[in-house]
Subunit: 358 residues, 2 copies
């Protein structure tokens, strides 16, 4: 599969080059959840309907995806969607409750529930996703990042029935019925793989896999029960879409970083708990890093956010392979002016890879 | 200050020796929140009243503290109380809402709120605590662990107004008004110090400082904004009560362990995310470790819990200085039979320090 013309157009962009650990003229920046409630233009465009309804409207999705690129001048756009979209699209019965998150009508409990997880046919099940990606790929001046959920995180929603504090049900399944666990994450990995491939075919230039909650696991459990499926996901993606930049992200993953670095992605996302110099040591020189400003500090005013941004840039150093981002998603209460300022500081002061061109 | 007769009585116990990294005949075990809703005898004795009311009844507190020692055969008792008790006792206006946690009527917002944090006079403000400790110290066959909250965690409740997900308000205060932050945690450190000293004087044999949520901070922020107060806490405690074993605990602290190991406690608690062999390397040989079975795995049945218990024991190795515990508190849904089994496995198979006597 060759890159689509849209994706190919961005091959020399700072974002794509940084994902490949190539030198860049300036550190690229984007923000997880940059399209969202922090932006007044988002709230105005979205109105009060369900987020799953919004996701199904390609014109609206394109608008919401573009808004932060215009506002902040980010070096990449993240597709406006949600990691439960594929499961919802095949009829598993998932909604997204405002202020809560995914809510599953009949959580995954037993072998019989596997039947409710048929393969995703992206053209038939999520045509609105593909239409929106195509719209965006034609319009965007920066690369579009497609995304999907990582196997543990999607499984946690389906098994717990929603967001969880202690993840007892999904851990109970992983350890109590390892065969069923493997069958479950095999299907979820296939769902994510099909969705990612379809987004890339429609014009996305890179993809991020959000295994956001994997950090709740001890490293030896992540290694035995989650990493193999994650490796298959990136491996099969590389087979069908060789050379496409891929990012693997989760929070609280300090202990998992050396393992995540072997999953096959070109970039590993780092939350704010691990200093980037440490993170670089843990993932090794072959993998780029993305992060890692604490999103909570963007609520402490522009001076604090700017000082912390400079600290992140300093710890990242001048070696290539750093994409600036927050350590987790933009918080809804964030003042967009602070993020504008952060992006400005990164663009004017971030020099990763510049020193390495010689 | 010499140890009370009750505290002195337990100096050769496995728990106290392990806290001091001395060889022990068998690995000692206790469970954070071992006194609590997982036990039917707790639910029967407690009834439906407010937990702060229960904490103010010495006879009930003594009974609840003893229950898990009898049931599980633990090597230590943890005093039944809550980390917000000192702040509540001086009238800051803190309640504990069932199923939610601490709720603060008027959260800490500005310099004026410092006036609401007067020093604790344990005999006058928390006589019920001292009476219960004295009752227990006379009765217990194992050491009693007193406790207090760590400066960040108590501050987070007072500033956020209750449990928090993103800790934005407390981080905003730390970074936005460092002088007020220092004034706040100085007072909270004094509160905890006064409470811990009074518990030790009344007969507790050791103390644990729960800075449970410190792991939400980046290491350089913990080091600059929390560690100095924590060092003062343990330093002043060592001045007044030399030789008393002390434990510093938090969750998600993988990145903070090398710093926490310098706070002056004799033991550092480890959650389940860091394998104990790694944790030992991070804290160094001078500090004992406590942990670190994932409490969620106690809900996956006795076989899974036993296998994980053996894994913890194996990673802890045979060097002295390991107290077996969970990586966080007992979850309310836990079957007590599983914890009985875990304690049995530790007692029959845990050999830390045995090999080191020669």
């Amino acid at each position: 599969m060759v890159p689509t013309p849209a994706a190919r157009r961005h091959q020399d962009s700072a974002f794509i080059r940084a994902c490949r650990s190539l030198p860049v003229p300036r550190v690229p920046v984007w923000f997880m959840r940059q399209a969202g409630r922090a932006l007044p233009e988002y709230r105005a465009a979205r109105g009060a309907g369900s987020i799953l309804d919004a996701i199904a409207r390609p014109d609206l999705v394109a608008e919401l995806t573009l808004q932060p690129v215009t506002r902040y001048g980010t070096d990449a756009a993240i597709f406006f969607s949600d990691i439960v979209v594929p499961a919802a699209a095949i009829g598993f019965g998932v909604d997204i409750a405002p202020g809560t998150g995914p809510v599953v009508e009949r959580p995954f409990r037993s072998k019989e529930d596997l039947q409710r997880l048929r393969p995703l046919d992206p053209e038939a099940d999520t045509p609105y996703v593909l239409e929106a990606v195509r719209l965006l790929a034609g319009e965007l001046a920066v690369p579009l990042i497609g995304f999907a959920g990582g196997p543990f995180t999607v499984a946690s929603y389906l098994v717990e029935g929603g967001p969880s504090r202690n993840f007892t049900k999904v851990k109970g399944l992983m350890h109590g019925d390892p065969a069923l666990w493997q069958a479950l994450i095999a299907r979820l990995t296939d769902l994510s793989l099909a969705s990612l491939r379809s987004q890339l075919d429609a014009g996305a230039s890179a993809v991020q896999v959000f295994d956001s909650w994997a950090g709740i696991l001890a490293p030896h459990h992540y290694e035995a029960l989650v990493l193999p499926a994650t490796r298959r996901l990136f491996g099969e993606l590389a087979d069908s879409h060789p050379g496409v930049p891929t990012i693997l992200f989760g929070v609280g993953t300090g202990e998992l970083l050396p393992l995540m670095a072997t999953a096959g992605s070109t970039v590993v996302g780092i939350d704010w708990r691990v200093p980037l110099d440490d993170a670089r040591r843990r993932v090794g020189p072959a993998v780029a890093v993305q992060g890692n400003l604490d999103p909570a500090l963007c609520l402490a005013g522009p001076e604090v956010a700017a000082a912390e941004t400079r600290d992140v840039l300093a710890r990242a150093g001048t070696a290539p392979g750093h994409i600036f981002n927050l350590g987790h998603g933009v918080l809804p209460e964030t003042d967009p002016a602070v993020l504008e300022h952060v992006a400005h500081v990164v663009h004017t002061e971030g020099v990763a890879g510049v020193g390495a061109t010689t």
